[in-house]
């Protein structure tokens, strides 16, 4: 095997942009949708995208999803331990 170069998963066409939200943005998000943090969809801490970002359990990830109907929109997932 040749030298293993680590492949950046965010370059793949199937992977949308991921970003960690700051504490203020997290508050703002929960206020905007009037939800508790446990009501967010989840993402495992072992998920390759989370590992690549270096997010910790408790962080909220903002995902910029491409959509055939809306162009793009934002989706949020709470990082949880597996």
């Amino acid at each position: 095997m040749a030298a293993k170069k680590e492949f950046d998963i965010f370059a793949h066409v199937l992977v949308p942009e991921h970003r960690i939200l700051s504490e203020e943005e997290k508050e703002e998000l929960l206020r905007k949708y009037r939800i508790r943090i446990s009501q967010l969809p989840q993402i495992k801490a072992s998920d390759p995208a989370v590992v690549a970002l270096g997010a910790k359990p408790g962080d909220v990830i903002e995902i910029k999803r491409k959509s055939p109907t809306a162009g793009y929109y934002y989706y949020y997932r709470l990082v949880v331990e597996d």
């Binding site: 095997m1 040749a2 293993k4 170069k5 492949f7 998963i9 370059a11 793949h12 066409v13 199937l14 992977v15 949308p16 991921h18 969809p41 989840q42 993402i43 495992k44 998920d47 390759p48 995208a49 989370v50 995902i63 999803r65 959509s67 055939p68 109907t69 809306a70 162009g71 793009y72 929109y73 997932r77 949880v80």
Partner: protein, 393 residues
């Protein structure tokens, strides 16, 4: 009268509460109409306002039973699908599960699809040349001694296993006898390998029972000489102006590391592998694409929004959950909802044992006990501050 500039239109459109694709379309249309009719600023504003109003009217009402609508919208076309098709458009040599069995496979989130396939795209250097594409295909294609053999015999007298190798196939695989011998020697310490022309002789080091020789022969035959594990035949097909490799079998993690492969576009139809390598969001996209493609293959069109909802529900917890009693339904919070679906008694017994309470928030449990269902107008609750004592004047 001053004409409205494109920049002003852009700014006004940007401020509107609309999704990105609608904004873009609105902007283009406004610019076009502005050229033709010389709109005033107030007119532009009025158009935008009207668009926002139309958009909001088109939104799904709160309380709409979107899950039921999605289920029916996918379910009805499914009745028109062929029950069993095994073919692949263009590549006749590779079988692919299509139609209803494939949809069931995706929705059930099977660990391994019945016909795993990878679509391998190539990088700039290897994309346009058939020879170079073949070179990459050889690196991926799994080859065993069995694939190369023309004839094999077990010589009981001399206690040997003899394999006659087809020189043509050997060359096609990019191997030679010496490489084969070295590879096998590295993997099987308990046997000796001898090469004589295009004949390979395998001799166990210790004389043992005949059944041992047979077992060894079987192992040697199946041993992978090159390529990726789990991958079998590969087929090269020209798509547009580039060559694409299709593989029977899938090993997504390894194939991305193969030199000559474009790792940004290569994909597999095994959704679990995608989730493992690229994450849950990529898996969601893969589920949507797989379902849409399978439907389209059958000449059916389902609105993507329904499929997006299915994919969202399946990936809600960060792992791919199947739709059914082991997945989405089995995870429901309400005992009655779970019991109403499948294995009724077991759910009721377990709930009784744990002393579960059911707050009756969902749809199914309210249907079950004959209450108004929290859907549509039923979702609205009335709260009222009654005066404790009626006031009298």
């Amino acid at each position: 009268m001053l004409m409205v500039s494109e920049k002003t239109i852009k700014n006004l459109v940007e401020k509107a509460d609309l999704p990105a694709s609608v904004k873009e379309e609105l902007y283009e249309k406004l610019v076009e109409y502005n050229k033709r009719y010389d709109l005033k600023k107030t007119e532009v504003e009025a158009i935008i306002e009207e668009t926002v109003k139309e958009y909001q009217n088109a939104l799904v009402e709160p309380g709409e039973a979107i899950g039921t609508v999605a289920a029916q919208s996918i379910g009805e076309p499914s009745t028109q699908m062929t029950l069993n098709t095994f073919h692949y458009a263009g590549v006749a040599e590779i079988n692919v599960t299509l139609g209803l069995p494939r949809i069931i496979e995706i929705v059930d989130a099977r660990k391994n699809p019945s016909t795993p396939i990878m679509t391998v795209y190539l990088d700039e250097k290897h994309r346009y040349d058939r020879e170079k594409a073949l070179e990459v295909a050889r690196r991926i294609e799994g080859t065993t001694l069995e694939n190369l053999a023309r004839e094999e015999t077990i010589d009981i007298l001399n206690f040997e296993y003899i394999v006659e190798i087809d020189p043509e196939r050997l060359e096609k695989a990019g191997l030679d006898m010496e490489k084969v011998r070295r590879k096998l020697e590295g993997s099987f310490k308990s046997a000796e390998f001898e090469v004589d022309g295009y004949t390979l002789i395998v001799r166990p080091k210790k004389a043992a029972k005949l059944s041992d020789l047979r077992r060894l022969a079987e192992k040697v035959k199946k041993h992978r000489l090159k390529g990726l594990s789990g991958v079998g035949k590969t087929i090269i097909r020209k798509e547009g102006d580039e060559y694409v490799i299709y593989t029977e079998g899938s090993n997504f993690k390894q194939v991305l590391k193969v030199p000559g492969v474009d790792p940004t576009r290569t994909r597999t139809n095994n959704i679990h592998e995608i989730a493992e390598v690229l994450g849950i969001e990529a898996a969601r996209n893969a589920i949507i694409e797989e379902i849409v493609n399978t439907m389209r293959e059958q000449g059916l069109e389902v609105d993507v929004r329904h499929i997006m909802l299915v994919a969202d529900v399946m990936t809600l917890d960060g792992v791919i959950l199947p739709i059914g009693r082991h997945g989405v339904v089995g995870e429901k919070a309400s005992v009655l909802a779970r019991a109403a679906f499948e294995i009724t008694t077991q759910h009721l017994f377990e709930a009784a044992e744990r002393g579960e309470t059911d707050p009756l928030n969902g749809v199914v449990e309210n249907v079950l006990i004959g209450q108004p269902v929290p859907v549509g107008t039923g979702i609205v609750k009335l709260a009222m501050n009654l005066p404790l004592r009626p006031k009298r004047e």
